[in-house]
């Protein structure tokens, strides 16, 4: 009897997951039972329901700094909740941007769209707050399998199918590799619980090898070089809302859980994984930038830029300190608004004109000043230029890295910002400076994306100046 009570009491700290599941089920049922004419309300319902969930998420707080249930299978803390809330916000924004697309190109399966996306979100929740490799694995797959379905969403298109195939194959492959690593971890540590594993530490090569296999699996999700090659193709092929979701949400969730596992399970190998990450970061940032320069398709362009951004994010991870964690989460938070703003513009224009080439954007300012300005803000923010939020997040993440005396690494990263600034400015140049013979016609964006863009813009501009956010993060962050 006690066992049962304890079992159920385990759910008591899983509020977010539970509420999300509720929304999930609601959407599913609504999708089932609303007829053809109900479809048009379905989206609004789904978004509203999820919005409620988002709001609810912000009310949550754990009374102690760290709680777990199911014997440490599930872990949570203020930081976990915060990260989930951030993901919630991102997802909501993606919904806003996806609305138009669902309305016109994807009428029939809009329900499935929301359902799948929410389930991936659920997977990410589990991945983030897992205290055990089993739950972690389940969360990971829950996050990635529906994602594959979503990448394949518009069935007519070649590249969508190709992208999906590449994604699912690489995902399966990488999860195989990661599982191999996990199995070795199990073999060497003798446990799958993070906190126990942390103590069962014997400096033997097999453990290091296991760690590296595991890191490879994570590297696939965060798309670090050399595990990044799928990224560009999938981003380009997938429907733009899905790409946005991939580029921010799954990346953010993966980064956080990666950081969490590194500083708990592999705490004693800090030396090793810091050296490894040092090189991975350098390669990632550089390759991402170099490949981004030559891109003409904006979605592909942003894919590579997001690769290099992932490198920057890891600068916070490599420190492994509380400050590092705060900087990382802050960076993800800012990056979410910035990148989603860019994708919002792109999807907006793609939906209405079908143009994604950089040359199509020539002279955008003359026809669509608002969109152009927001895009410019996003580019500047990605490039890390004040006053936009990107500057602050970059500054803090570099600060976190230098805390560990990694001046050389930071210097290389900074030199890379020059390259990145170069290609971000290329977009600005296209929109503002270049003239075009047939510029994009003036666009009347739909209400939802207007809301989304407004939120993103406000976020990009003001977030840097509102210090309490970062203060809060650093107050609840933890590290080695």
């Amino acid at each position: 009897m006690d066992i049962i009570k304890e079992f159920y009491s385990g759910f008591s700290i899983m509020n977010q997951e539970v509420s999300l599941v509720l929304v999930l089920v609601f959407v599913l049922l609504a999708d089932l039972f609303c007829g053809e004419k109900g479809k048009k309300y379905l989206q609004l319902l789904a978004i509203a329901a999820f919005a409620l969930n988002v709001v609810y998420g912000f009310t949550l707080k754990v009374d102690s700094t760290y709680q777990d249930s199911f014997a440490g299978m599930y872990v949570t803390s203020d930081m976990h909740i915060l990260v989930k809330n951030i993901l919630n916000v991102g997802t909501l924004l993606v919904f806003f941007f996806a609305h138009y697309w669902n309305e016109h190109e994807n009428r029939s399966q809009s329900g499935e769209f929301y359902f799948l996306m929410l389930s991936t979100l659920l997977g990410m929740y589990l991945m983030i707050s897992s205290g055990n490799f089993l739950l972690f694995y389940i969360g990971l797959e829950t996050a990635s399998i529906p994602m594959a379905a979503m990448v394949a969403f518009n069935k007519k298109a070649h590249e969508s199918a190709e992208a999906a195939a590449k994604y699912i194959l690489t995902a399966a492959f990488s999860s195989g590799v990661m599982l191999f690593g996990i199995s070795l971890i199990y073999g060497t540590y003798g446990t799958l619980y993070y906190n126990e594993a942390a103590n069962a530490f014997l400096a033997e090569p097999l453990q290091i090898m296991a760690m590296i296999f595991f890191m490879a699996g994570m590297g696939f999700k965060i798309s670090l070089v050399p595990f990044h090659l799928w990224t560009a193709d999938t981003y380009q092929g997938a429907p733009t809302p899905v790409t946005a979701y991939l580029s921010v949400m799954s990346k953010g969730a993966a980064v956080f859980s990666f950081l969490y596992i590194l500083i708990t399970v592999f705490r004693n190998y800090a030396e090793t994984w810091q050296n490894i990450l040092w090189w991975i970061i350098v390669v990632t940032i550089t390759v991402g930038n170099l490949f981004a320069i030559r891109q003409k398709n904006l979605k592909r362009f942003l894919a590579f830029s997001s690769i290099s951004q992932a490198g920057y994010i890891l600068l916070g991870v490599i420190a492994g300190t509380p400050q590092g964690m705060a900087a990382t989460v802050f960076y993800i938070f800012i990056y979410l608004f910035t990148n989603l703003a860019a994708f919002g513009i792109i999807s907006n224009i793609e939906n209405q004109t079908g143009k994604v080439g950089m040359d199509d954007y020539n002279g955008l300012y003359s026809t669509n000043p608002k969109l152009a300005v927001i895009m410019m803000l996003a580019m500047f923010s990605l490039g890390g230029i004040p006053f936009f939020a990107g500057f602050f997040s970059k500054f803090f993440i570099f600060l976190a890295a230098t805390q560990k005396e990694m001046y050389l690494l930071v210097f290389i990263a900074l030199l890379n910002t020059i390259i990145s600034l170069f290609y971000y400015l290329l977009v600005v140049k296209a929109m503002f400076i270049k003239e075009s013979t047939n510029p994009i016609k003036p666009i009347k964006s739909d209400a939802m994306s207007v809301i989304g863009l407004a939120i993103c813009t406000i976020g990009m501009i003001v977030l840097g100046f509102i210090s309490p956010i970062y203060e809060y993060m650093s107050s609840i962050s933890f590290g080695i």
Partner: protein, 483 residues
């Protein structure tokens, strides 16, 4: 200010201009008042290193980032310079028709960054404003520029960003060595007070910081953004950029690199003396054979700004005072130069001195102003250039060893070379017979151009005739730093 402009509908160009002019004049008034009040307080014996310091508004407590501002003699001088140049710049770009609103918005952002940089005491805010001042250049040049504008704009932005990459590492270093007892700070004064950075670390971070600012200060060999950038920038932008923005470099070298890492500055000075000494002569020489007016002035800016850094590195009161004076004077006269070049270009549609001639007859006012600017630049007594250069040379002569002597004397030769290229331009462009018959029905300066030019000339002559108050104000700041 930006808000006001932003609210105005872009069609009402004149209204925008009015607002701009009003705002700029307001700024000018403020800074003049600030200067007077500052001097008054010094008279009254206010001995604090920085005056008007607000009590630091905590921003990011955990990182100990505050918003704290204050001014000392040097920054007051710089603010005065900036406001003058901004105001005249507004008038100089009065005739601009294309996208006026956006233009002035970026222009304001630029000036905002500049002001913020000069008044901030906190490294973080300082760096923030620094970058704020850098980025508008891209669009200002790229959109409203001329010639190979896109190339130049990109080059300029990237090179300056490269500089700030060096700089940022330096700032992190300073931050993490900012105090003995763990509580790190970004506040310059506290860092200087704690003076906690060990010498071997200084040897690493001083060059980074100095080069970082040196790029903006157009230090050889990092100066090549300057000719192209200036050549393609619109008038007011090259005014503000050469006049004020390049001063950020010198100011930063002084206020951050040398003030916070004195030992390293002392030990590594020789390297940078070689570089800056080179750029003094080098810039002057390469200005002699340019044919584009803007290139000539860009190179002369390289030479003059080189003199600024050169004097700073001498590290004694007189030389440093001279350096700041040189910043002010160069700011004013180069702004005047670019304003006039813009006006001439706007009429003749060429900047190639071989295609012009006898303009003095056609547009006497511009001609006379140009001659005055030239005289200021070649250091004619009674104009600001002379004051600055003499102070620099006398101060630099304090070092009696052969190495310093050599470079100081090399610097002295630059004043002759300056005379050469200035007179070359004056002789070719203003004097002599009219080259191009079409030029003969060109008009002379119109009212707003006159306002811009005369404003600057008055400032130049004012400093040139009565330099004492300024140099005292500055040297007072310097003394506080040297303590």
């Amino acid at each position: 200010m930006m808000a006001i402009i932003f609210c105005i509908n872009g069609e009402k160009k004149n209204l925008i201009r009015m607002v701009m002019a009003a705002g700029a004049l307001a700024m000018l008034g403020t800074s003049v008042y600030l200067t007077l009040d500052f001097l008054a307080q010094r008279e009254a014996g206010a001995t604090a290193e920085f005056l008007y310091c607000n009590d630091p508004i905590p921003w990011y407590e955990t990182l100990n980032i505050n918003y704290s501002v204050g001014v000392d003699g040097i920054s007051v001088a710089m603010l005065l310079l900036s406001t003058i140049v901004v105001t005249t710049g507004v008038f100089a770009s009065w005739g601009l028709e294309k996208l006026t609103k956006e233009y002035f918005l970026w222009f304001l952002m630029l000036s905002l960054g500049v002001f913020g940089f000069f008044i901030s005491i906190d490294l973080f805010t300082m760096f923030l404003f620094y970058e704020v001042a850098l980025i508008p250049m891209y669009l200002l040049i790229g959109l409203w520029g001329t010639g190979r504008k896109e190339y130049s704009a990109m080059k300029l932005t990237l090179m300056l960003m490269g500089g700030s990459a060096f700089l940022m590492v330096g700032i992190f270093g300073i931050y993490y060595y900012s105090s003995m007892d763990g509580n790190l700070t970004f506040n310059i004064l506290e860092i200087a007070k704690n003076h906690a950075m060990p010498i071997d670390k200084q040897m690493i971070f001083f060059p980074l910081t100095f080069v970082g600012f040196g790029v903006l200060g157009a230090m050889f060999p990092f100066h090549t953004w300057s000719p192209d950038g200036h050549a393609s920038a619109p008038t007011a932008v090259s005014m503000l950029h050469a006049g004020v923005l390049m001063k950020l470099g010198g100011y930063g070298c002084f206020r951050i690199a040398m003030y916070l890492m004195p030992e390293a500055a002392d030990q590594l000075a020789w390297i940078f003396i070689i570089l800056t000494g080179t750029s003094v002569v080098y810039g002057a020489f390469s200005a002699c054979v340019q044919n584009d007016l803007k290139y000539i002035n860009a190179y002369s800016s390289v030479s003059h700004c080189g003199l600024v850094l050169f004097a700073l590195l001498m590290m004694n009161k007189t030389a440093m005072t001279g350096a700041i004076l040189q910043m002010v004077s160069h700011g004013l006269m180069t702004a005047l130069f670019f304003a006039l070049i813009g006006m001439i270009y706007g009429r003749t549609h060429t900047r190639d001195i071989r295609e012009m001639g006898g303009l003095m007859k056609i547009m006497p006012v511009l001609g006379v102003c140009y001659v005055i600017a030239g005289m200021a630049s070649l250091g004619l007594p009674g104009l600001s250039g002379f004051v600055a250069e003499m102070t620099v040379f006398v101060g630099a002569f304090e070092h009696s060893d052969l190495f310093h002597r050599f470079f100081v004397i090399a610097g002295c030769t630059s004043i002759v070379i300056t005379a050469v290229y200035i007179l070359r331009v004056v002789g070719k462009v203003l004097f002599g017979p009219v080259q191009d018959k079409h030029h003969e029905q060109l008009t002379d300066a119109c009212w707003y151009e006159k306002v811009a030019a005369f404003g600057l000339i008055i400032a130049i002559a004012g400093i040139g005739l009565a330099p004492l108050w300024l140099s005292n104000m500055i040297s007072d700041g310097i003394m506080n730093m040297l303590k």
